[in-house]
């Protein structure tokens, strides 16, 4: 059975179409993998029974000739997505026991296209973190370990459970959300493909909000083609989200393998940062060479405000989060910790319910919005955001896509950076700029670091040109021929 968990979505789709396997078989294999892989702590709610029900119905639909684009594909759902009647707690203590009486638009889209839910994946609490160490449910382990070393490695974050599940062949694919890099960085850390679409491409309705102007859902898969398939199912206009964009969703597989011949690829000089490991630079150069060899024209470009993206992000995102998380007050759902009066009940509930990183960001956000500081911080950051978006606009007048490393290092060990918030924040230095500009980006596994951990390259594209981003990603994937797999140490 184990080979079923090795399949990509595209492969499984073809086998099911030929009648050589079924949703039921695939789901059984993956449910078994979920149960055998609990040591990774990738899932915080398993939904095996529901998965088997969904698989049975999926096979019925296929038999009736009504197969959707994700028909019968067993996937994992990040806990940030509200799923009807199922654990949806953003990996936070404060949402204890919350079972939504509603289904997020993106998850509903996936079920409508036939996908099967294996369970809810662990994540950084409220998607705030870059290592999955801020979860109330404990850290997730990366299936990858350094060569000759048993030390636990983080899977990145915030979509760490999803990344780990996909990298460890527990789920065929998973949903992620990306606010400043939460899909792309964990994808790079786990040797998987992760795509953040253009802001507005996937509905945010029913996804627990972190920073509303930045949050986007996206696919986490083991191939670029799988990302194309899954994004098509997830994306689409949603009248319930005022920031959802009403533009048709193409079949992203069309032209996926057309290559990059004649494309202009920008390489931004500002993405060379202090203390960047040589192997990252080498990998980046390798990516440049691959694309040039594939017929692309490489252009040096400048995104002059790049270094200010991260600090601007750490004003905008906390500001929005401080307001978005005000609703967790112990009144209508989740944790309530009593106090002497209502105010102390609020204060106790929120003190116990939120973890340290979430509190840190709420306090920063509250501070930068408070009287006397708004102009100096929030408005300043939003002006810089305009400059960053303009940088990209200027460059995109001339190029089709931009190539950068996904993260400034390979995955690190559990606990290695958890005491230094700024060191942790720097993980997102290459992913945050595109987030601030709302642009689509993909991370594709491109090689291994000297210590044997995977590394990713990022492609950033024009707004709503996910198809082109995927095409460049496909070219990188073809050239890289990344076939390394983590050694299976975690299975029970």
């Amino acid at each position: 059975m184990s080979e079923l968990t090795e399949l990509t979505i595209a492969e499984a789709r073809d086998l099911m179409a030929k009648g050589e396997t079924s949703a039921k078989e695939l789901t059984e294999a993956h449910v078994a993998a979920v149960e055998a892989s609990r040591s990774l702590n990738a899932f915080i709610a398993e939904t095996a029974d529901q998965a088997m029900d969904m698989a049975a119905r999926s096979d019925d639909r296929r038999a009736a000739g009504e197969a959707g684009v994700m028909e019968g594909i067993p996937i994992a759902m990040k806990d940030l997505f509200c799923t009807f009647g199922v654990h949806s707690q953003a990996a936070s203590h404060i949402l204890d026991g919350f079972k939504p009486p509603y289904e997020s638009t993106v998850s509903a889209n996936l079920w409508n296209e036939g996908a099967v839910m294996l369970g809810k994946t662990n994540m950084d609490e409220f998607a705030m973190g870059s290592s999955n160490e801020t979860s109330y449910y404990g850290p997730v382990e990366n299936p990858w370990r350094r060569a000759g070393d048993n030390q636990s490695i983080v899977p990145g974050g915030s979509s760490g459970g999803s990344a780990s599940a996909v990298g460890a062949r527990i789920a065929m694919a998973a949903t992620g959300t990306d606010t400043g890099g939460s899909i792309r960085q964990p994808a790079a850390f786990t040797g998987t493909v992760g795509m953040k679409p253009t802001y507005g491409r996937c509905s945010r309705w029913g996804i627990v909000a972190f920073a509303s102007s930045l949050d986007q859902a996206g696919p986490m898969t083991r191939s670029v083609r799988d990302a194309a398939i899954m994004l098509r199912a997830m994306a689409g206009f949603d009248p319930k989200d005022s920031t959802s964009v009403d533009t048709p969703v193409p079949n992203y597989e069309d032209g996926l393998t057309d290559g990059v011949k004649g494309m202009k690829i920008g390489v931004p000089k500002e993405y060379v940062v202090d203390n960047m490991p040589a192997e990252i630079e080498a990998l980046w150069q390798q990516g440049i060479d691959w694309l040039r060899d594939a017929g692309a024209e490489i252009v040096d470009v400048s995104l002059p405000h790049t270094k200010y993206a991260l600090p601007a992000y750490y004003i905008v995102a906390p500001a929005e989060c401080s307001s978005n998380l005000a609703r967790y007050d112990g009144v209508r759902y989740g944790l309530r910790v009593p106090g002497d009066d209502l105010t102390s009940q609020y204060e106790n509930t929120r003190a116990e319910g939120f973890g340290a990183e979430v509190k840190r960001r709420i306090l920063i956000g509250t501070y930068v919005l408070s009287a006397g500081y708004y102009d100096a911080y929030y408005l300043k950051a939003q002006r810089i955001r305009t400059l960053i978006a303009n940088d990209f606009k200027t460059v995109f007048d001339d190029v089709d896509a931009i190539l950068t490393p996904t993260a400034p290092s390979a995955a690190f060990a559990l606990g290695e950076k958890s005491d230094d918030p700024i060191a942790m924040y720097l993980n997102d230095v290459f992913t945050v700029p595109a987030s601030l500009a709302g642009l689509p980006g993909i991370s594709v596994p491109a090689g291994l670091a000297n210590d044997g951990l995977p590394l990713g390259l990022q492609v950033i594209g024009h707004a709503f040109e996910e198809a082109k981003v995927l095409r460049v990603g496909q070219a990188l994937e073809d050239a890289a021929g990344f076939s390394a797999k983590p050694e299976n140490w975690w299975r029970a």
């Binding site: 507005g200 759902y333 209502l342 009940q345 939120f354 501070y367 300043k380 700024i422």
Partner: protein
């Protein structure tokens, strides 16, 4: 600009997060560290630059005035830590 203990206490009060007195000092140091790192934004000349309102280049869509939702008090209160007769219940509030 430095973020002192009193500021942290004030901000925590605004955010309704209880912070133990003994935690205020270390928290102030930590937040100050982050804010100092953020201060590098002051290097950027942003005179005349419009603050971004949305990355979506579109206009606000408006929906029609139809009643399409509600009518499920049970659903609204089913996750509540305390409820009574379809009301949410909280400790007595004095105005």
């Amino acid at each position: 600009m430095s973020l002192d203990k009193a500021t942290v206490a004030h901000v925590a009060k605004l955010a309704r997060i209880r912070v133990e007195e003994s935690d205020l000092e270390p928290m102030a140091a930590e937040l100050n560290n982050i804010m100092t790192w953020i201060e590098q934004l002051n290097e950027v000349d942003t005179d005349g630059v419009q603050p971004m309102t949305s990355v979506v280049e579109s206009v606000l869509r408006q929906r029609s005035d139809d009643i399409t939702d509600g009518g499920y008090a049970d659903k609204v209160t089913q996750n509540a830590p305390a409820s009574e007769a379809s009301y949410f219940v909280v400790p007595k509030v004095v105005e």
